[in-house]
Symmetry: none
Subunit: 202 residues, 4 copies
DNA sequence: AATGAATGAGATTTCATTCAT
DNA sequence: TATGAATGAAATCTCATTCAT
């Protein structure tokens, strides 16, 4: 039964735990991360973890939520400028910016993403999908011809998954056979061409 | 000091262990699968596992290799018929056949795939990527205009990752918002449109 | 370094802790009761417990002493009226009154008794035995023929233990096979018959 | 998931664990006994406990069952000779023999009894109550006038509880004020007088 | 005097691996 | 070669107690 932090320093410890979890997971993967490691990195005693979290899983869940919020916030921040430009350019830009974001802090986010992405947290990751979906929708509204697209949700789903996964995988590949810009360009074209063709078809 | 099986009976036991590992992982995930479970399912003693494999990880590696070979074989078997038909149709067909393959045996392969992608061993999965790459290449040869495509490896890489991941994620989604055929169609169009547009551009 | 409470407010807190301990032990048993629970129920901080008590055991000891005093006081209050009536009636009455006492407050005392008898501290419970012994003695004085009884202390010891334990056990039995009145009657007759026969023998 | 012992030495280990639990509980009480202690006393690794028992509680349960069986067997062995003699003598004899039994092996059984008796194992201890009840019944059959007794089950219940608890408590008292023979005599008379008076009353 | 965040020793439990048979 | 009992390091989690505020 973790207590809700009541004093000022509590918040600090809570955040320290989440940050420590990021570092530990980036280093060892979520499955191999132990409570001791997290406590050590956070510079606190093991017992203190349980003042703030029910159990280990609760720490991971909080981290994922935090992560999802961070990504969603990043996407939202980019949204206004991206909706103004053509789809191809928007996807290209988003891809680059996203990669930059993932690679910050010694690739902490990237490493965590790889470890967490497949834990099927459909619910926990939903803010991300919502933010990306909204970006898609807003872009369509700003470019009304795109509203004609059939299967918009399906298309969004696939574009998003394709982009996120290709990027994540690329970034964690030790010796990629091509540059990241190339990848971004192909992703962008894939989206652009798809929309162009579909619209022409009608 | 495990030895590669040399006798017929040994080979049988070796295979039984791999099959048991499939079953256990499909049921509990790779992290929660224990050596005891594997031995029990395989119908042998725990100690015997170590006659055939150095350690637990070696079993998982062997399973992944086996899995990769199985997928590659499946792709290779489909290749001759797929290279003959237009790209869009080929992707559509491949997606459906692939899903069917993953869902066989009570979704054993699908469940394993989800659990194993976590450890995403680039080397172990390479036969799959090679087989899919070869399918791409052969298709291009059978439709020579596609050889003009810029960045063919990059494009292949992205198409493959996009397809595999979107599909895996879709299939493990409890309440998908659209049908699998829709997904396959969008993937197919994505590929078809991309190639069409790129070729026209030159 | 806890101090005995010297001010009125302190005394209140001290009592609140004891009461909280009663509640917690009745609910969870003495082994599962934590200092946090006690503090929470008492409406004070954990740290404050240690202003009043050396450690957790000291709280339990104080509770047992309090409990013993409460029981002793109850017995003493009944003594004057019980000494007047025949032994059989007195035992019957005492048994019923005692059970009533244990079952008050949602069986708080009963539940605590069951949990605390485990640690059966002969010294801590001695006030109870003293009060019951005194009741016995006074009854004998009021009925002088009983003073002839051999082994009076032994007899008292056995009657008391028999009564207390049979009653406690009965009251915590989920589906007793007979009524409490029956039990009280048999206990009463046991005492009455014993004394009658012993006196006749001389 | 403990395995049922399949090899010969398994039984040995199982028994060693139970014996170790007796020793540990006699020494520290059931609440303070740890799995490590048990393993150490048994001369095995901690992990081995879990080859034979689901968890710690399962060890205690097995011990209680073992204990109950041992007591019941002891009572059954005494039954044939006790049913032949008058009630008073039978109770006296039973008390002495029972005490002897409890004090064997450095009072191991006695100490365990004190620690376990109040854990309200109505179900686990039922073999004991059954054996004692049967002794009562057989005695009544051998002395048919006793069959006239009202409330036989209630009386048996009280006699048994009174005897067991008085004895246990006496034996664990550091400085008893009277001899054990006195106690046995009073218990015996209590039973004898009760029955005599009740039968005369009718 | 009062607090409650922090502590860390210690409890239970798991499981890959070994080794005597 | 095959076995499965035994192992013990290591993981998660609890909670009485302390101490800075």
């Amino acid at each position: 039964m973790p207590r809700k932090p009541q004093q000022a320093r509590s918040r600090q410890t809570y955040d320290a735990i989440i940050q420590a979890a990021y570092i530990a997971i980036a280093k060892n993967g979520s499955e191999s991360t132990t409570t001791r490691q997290i406590a050590e990195i956070a510079g606190i005693g093991v017992g203190s973890l349980y003042e703030y979290f029910e159990n280990k899983q609760a720490i991971l869940d909080a981290l994922i939520e935090h992560f999802a919020q961070a990504i969603a916030a990043h996407v939202k921040a980019l949204t206004p400028s991206l909706v103004r430009i053509p789809l191809t350019d928007a996807v290209y830009e988003l891809t680059l910016k996203f990669a930059e974001f993932l690679k910050a802090n010694d690739e902490q986010y990237l490493k965590c993403a790889r470890s967490l992405m497949l834990h099927d947290n459909h619910t926990l990751l939903s803010p991300v999908y919502r933010a990306l979906g909204e970006l898609f929708t807003k872009h369509a509204i700003a470019h009304p011809e795109q509203l004609q697209l059939k299967n918009l949700p399906t298309v969004a789903y696939i574009f998003i998954n394709s982009g996120v996964y290709s990027m994540t995988r690329y970034l964690s590949h030790p010796n990629p056979a091509f540059s990241f810009e190339e990848l971004a360009q192909v992703l962008a074209n894939m989206a652009g061409h798809y929309v162009a063709m579909e619209l022409k078809a009608d």
